[in-house]
């Protein structure tokens, strides 16, 4: 309780510091609005679209894509990582294509995703999925690989079924590393969602950004950027709380 409270204080302080720097850059340092609008102008732009209800439409759409992509990427990442650590022979063949597919910069392919997968929400989800997948996958592989051999002995001894071994031993043991991947994946999901909307579409925070950027409505642009950052922070905090819950057994240092 107390700790959570102090965490909230820290976040607030940090945000206040950021706000101050922002204010300083636009006030005393006099950066022009078209480069960086003042916090007040941005706030006004935000309030304006919040009042018309437009904001919630965009926000909801982006959030929905993020959550969908995150869940799918997460499931696939963990599943494929598991299969590959269980069957190293398969990994020889799958590893290369997976890595090549992943290191291919999505931003370059994003426009093509639209022609490949259509204008609908599918191409967006696929883009987000493809960005989330890899961090979770790599994290899960690391987690499954570092499994304590004593745990392997135990599961072998108890003759656990594949499902039991996964559920009861391998998954919990790999959790810390999976969470590393998940936290990066969450950020990537956000980046992917915005990117997808940037490339095509008529709704979402990314769309709001292209629109604002092309029409030089910089306060609106930064209002949208602000919303993405807030979204990122919320996702991060949610994952951190979940992590603390699930990994309390680790007795983390400074937990």
């Amino acid at each position: 309780m107390n700790r959570r409270f102090s965490a909230a204080v820290d976040y607030t302080l940090a945000l206040a510091a950021l706000l101050f720097v922002w204010w300083f850059a636009t006030g005393p340092m006099a950066l022009p609005t078209f480069l960086l609008p003042s916090p007040l102008r941005t706030w006004n732009a935000l309030v304006t679209i919040a009042l018309t209800g437009e904001l919630w439409l965009h926000l909801g759409f982006t959030l929905q894509n993020i959550v969908l992509g995150l869940i799918l990427g997460c499931i696939a990442g963990i599943a494929i990582a598991y299969v590959m650590t269980r069957f190293p022979k398969l990994a020889v063949w799958l590893d290369g294509p997976l890595v090549i597919l992943q290191t291919a910069p999505k931003i370059a392919l994003a426009p093509l995703f639209v022609v490949w997968f259509g204008f609908g929400v599918l191409s967006k989800i696929i883009l987000i999925f493809s960005l989330v997948f890899f961090p979770v996958f790599v994290g899960a592989v690391a987690g499954f690989r570092t499994l304590d051999p004593k745990m392997k002995d135990l599961s072998k001894l108890l003759g656990l079924s594949a499902v039991q071994r996964f559920r009861q031993i391998e998954l919990p043991a790999a959790m810390p590393e999976i969470f590393v991947g998940l936290k990066i994946g969450a950020v990537q999901a956000l980046v992917g969602a915005v990117l997808a909307e940037w490339m095509s579409g008529k709704v979402g925070l990314g769309y709001l950004m292209t629109f604002a950027s092309a029409t030089y409505k910089t306060p609106l642009l930064f209002a949208a950027v602000l919303m993405t950052v807030v979204l990122g922070l919320v996702l991060h905090v949610a994952l951190t709380i979940l992590e603390r819950r699930l990994l309390s057994w680790k007795g983390a240092k400074n937990g």
Partner: protein, 257 residues
Amino acid sequence: MAQSERMIDIAGVHKTFVADHGTVTALEPVSITIREGEFISIVGPSGCGKSTLLRLISGLDQATGGSITLNVSGRKRPVGFVFQEPVLLPWKTIVDNVRFPLDTAGVARAQGDKTALDLIKMVGLAGFEKALPRQLSGGMRQRAAIARALSDDPPILLMDEPFSAVDLMTRDNLNDELLRIWQSTGKTILLVTHSVDEAAYLADRVMVMTARPGKLQCVHTVELARPRGEQTKLDPAYHALVAQLRRDLRTPAGEAH
């Protein structure tokens, strides 16, 4: 307790590890037949291959040569194992750890809980059911591991220095509990220990192993009356055996008698 059925057949089993710094012969060929319901103690110097032998019997490692046959047709989990270090799942509470073999064998939760709580009480951990392993002392963790190995009642029990980290009194209690369980269930038990007193007190036969390269030096049949108890420790035959075991262990490797 004499049974004639063969339970574990070990024939010429040996094990060599290959490592960067050279090959290590952990176990030279060992042959012995263990009958159903027998209680075997294993003593020997540190690093002589006792743990290796148990791991081979349990099937966790593969022998470099020789064969091991377990006569446990039809049992899915023939062996219970108390590892030398307590291997508890750090994310599960003590009661969940002890119940774990039952849970994964499909035993109903209520039934499992009952068994687990009884065993936890037996090993003296009442009050720590909901604690996590890292919140226990070394000896308490070891006792939790013992409780877990007993929970699903395996016909063969392999115990690798199960009582090394507990105090004398607890150890005596647990020895007697173990004998009680053994007597009532007819398990076959192999127990590695560095205490010759314990080895003699518990076993039907004591295997003495020699230092590296580990091999079987001799096997003593313990002729002490069952059930054992305080009176056993007053028996001169018991003390003679303990003294003999001590002498065996003092014999430098190679000078087997």
